[in-house]
């Protein structure tokens, strides 16, 4: 448990609370529209396809592939400056939605587009667990 987390933390609101509660349980939740059936991420108060408001939470298998990535060597981003190089990726989940997050747990030089990854959760404070991805 990193109590002294130096990077930006999510500012959790009532709207996003179920997603972040899922992360606390180490579950990655996506939303399914109860009206048109569309899946979406990031979570929001309406379905992005039909604007329906009857949204359900569904646990993702947490598996996907790297859609694209970048390895950052120089940054002024808070908390990341001393941890270069680090990887950021758009990951496409098996369920078909894209998630932006770090890819960790391997040499960044090994990361490639199409690489299979799975979600992991880092408990960065007593209240917040962040989803990231590692090679599957």
């Amino acid at each position: 448990m990193t109590v002294d987390y130096k990077k930006p933390l999510p500012e959790i609101t009532a709207e996003s609370r179920p997603f972040w509660d899922g992360c606390r349980r180490h579950e990655f939740l996506v939303q399914r529209c109860g009206e048109c059936g569309a899946l979406q991420h990031y979570p929001r108060g309406v379905c992005a396809r039909c604007w329906g408001t009857n949204l359900e939470w569904q646990r993702s298998a947490g598996r996907g592939r790297v859609y694209t990535f970048t390895v950052t060597h120089r940054t002024q981003a808070r908390g990341f400056k001393d941890e270069t190089p680090y990887a950021l990726a758009w990951v496409e989940l098996e369920e078909g939605v894209q998630v932006l997050a770090n890819v960790v747990g391997c040499d960044p030089a090994r990361i490639a587009v199409g690489m299979p990854v799975r979600v992991i959760f880092e408990d960065v404070t007593p209240d917040v667990s962040l989803p990231r991805f590692e090679p599957a």
């Binding site: 999510p10 500012e11 996003s16 990031y42 970048t70 950052t72 940054t75 002024q76 981003a77 990726a89």
Partner: protein, 379 residues
């Protein structure tokens, strides 16, 4: 569209002790002089939202103006291109007759790490995107990496864009960096966010500028030939609920609309001003505007095509990559295109320049961004 760009001014300094408001005031004054108009003529005002979130209010107050039309549209660096579209529309509707667009920033003096700081906007979306060391350069690099994967685009091809801009900067006395660079220089410069090197990234400057857009019935009273806005269009591309093709930018929407409105084809264009926050921005934009097919951008930019003397001289002022980028660049795209169409560019003048395309990109290519296209013609 039926409006004329009657006056422009680019603030000449790249580092200044002046404030952002003062930069705008001096630029507005010079652009009005260029248009042969006075502050009393201004009845429309367009600028981005400042830190206070009240858009044009501080600068309108500072300049002691009483516009009957104001617009603070803020969609990143493309905003001023959007403003030109909105100003032309407002003029066409009789809502104003003399529209002033201004911009000023002291990003360099203030030491703002525009491209490499974490990209946190203060809104709901930050918690899903901004917490991962997500910088502006990183978000553009995501698109570049996908382009490399999908089409085999190389770092050397991207570098050709930076080399072209630097060659043009060498012909622009006001440009920040003027010494020539090679493809190898770009590839040897430090990696920032792969595959983008330092020289794939725009400079950080202080600066600003202004443009005056007027009703076409004022043409005969102008001291210089007005530049006609022949076509204008804007668009937004975003994360699309998690199902986005990040290789297609907003330019794919705005470009065809602006060109169709102008009744102009690609071969008719004498030069282009393409927002170059990063080299990849130019490559993807050229594809989406239809100068080449998707995936052909890497080959398109090789062989000096974007340089003066090439098929499509682009960013003849040196661009954001080598001349001027105080955080937003849209106004400079308009200013340089107007200077080219008026034949005022000296050593870097495009011969017999009659038609120019301007395309601004604002926000981040790898998440949500705006795109705005203008087709401008010599009067």
């Amino acid at each position: 569209m039926n409006a004329l760009i009657a006056g422009v001014h680019e603030f000449p300094e790249r580092k200044t002790a002046r404030s952002a408001l003062e930069i705008q005031a001096l630029s507005a004054r010079a652009a009005l002089t260029d248009a042969g108009l006075t502050p009393r003529d201004v009845d429309g005002y367009f600028t981005v939202a400042g830190s206070g979130g009240t858009g044009p209010l501080p600068i309108v107050d500072y300049l002691n103006l009483t516009p009957r039309y104001v617009d603070g549209t803020s969609v990143g660096g493309a905003s001023f291109v959007v403003h030109a579209h909105h100003a032309a529309a407002a003029i066409s509707q009789g809502r104003c007759r003399v529209a002033l667009i201004t911009y000023g920033s002291t990003a360099r003096s203030a030491g703002v790490p525009v491209g490499t700081r974490e990209r946190i906007a203060g809104d709901y979306l930050d918690q899903f995107e901004g917490i991962y060391g997500t910088s502006t350069v990183g978000l553009y690099a995501l698109v570049a990496q996908r382009h490399v994967h999908e089409y085999g685009t190389t770092g050397a091809q991207l570098a050709h864009i930076a080399v072209a801009c630097r060659r043009h900067a060498g012909l622009n006395p006001a440009a920040l960096y003027r010494d020539p660079i090679t493809v190898e220089d770009v590839l040897r410069s430090p990696m920032i966010s792969s595959p983008l090197h330092l020289l794939d990234c725009c400079v950080i400057t202080d600066g600003g500028g202004a443009a005056v857009i007027v009703h076409p019935d004022m043409a005969r009273d102008l001291p210089k030939p007005g530049v006609r806005i022949l076509g204008a269009a804007e668009a937004v591309a975003h994360t699309a609920a998690g199902r986005r093709d990040y290789l297609v930018s907003a330019a794919a929407q705005s470009g065809p609309r602006a060109l169709a409105e102008a009744g102009v084809s690609h071969a008719d264009l004498d030069m282009a001003m393409i927002y170059d926050s990063f080299t990849i921005t130019v490559l993807v934009t050229l594809e989406d505007l239809g100068f080449c097919t998707k995936g052909e951008g890497g080959r398109f930019v090789e062989g000096g095509r974007l340089e003066l003397g090439g098929d499509l001289p682009t960013n003849t002022d040196g661009g954001g990559l080598s001349s001027n980028h105080p955080g937003m660049r849209g106004i400079f795209l308009i200013i340089e295109a107007v200077r080219q169409l008026r034949g005022e560019c000296g050593e870097r003048q495009v011969e017999d320049c009659r038609l120019a395309l301007v395309h601004g990109t604002g926000g981040a290519l790898g998440s949500r961004h705006s795109g705005a296209t203008l087709v401008l013609g010599r009067a």
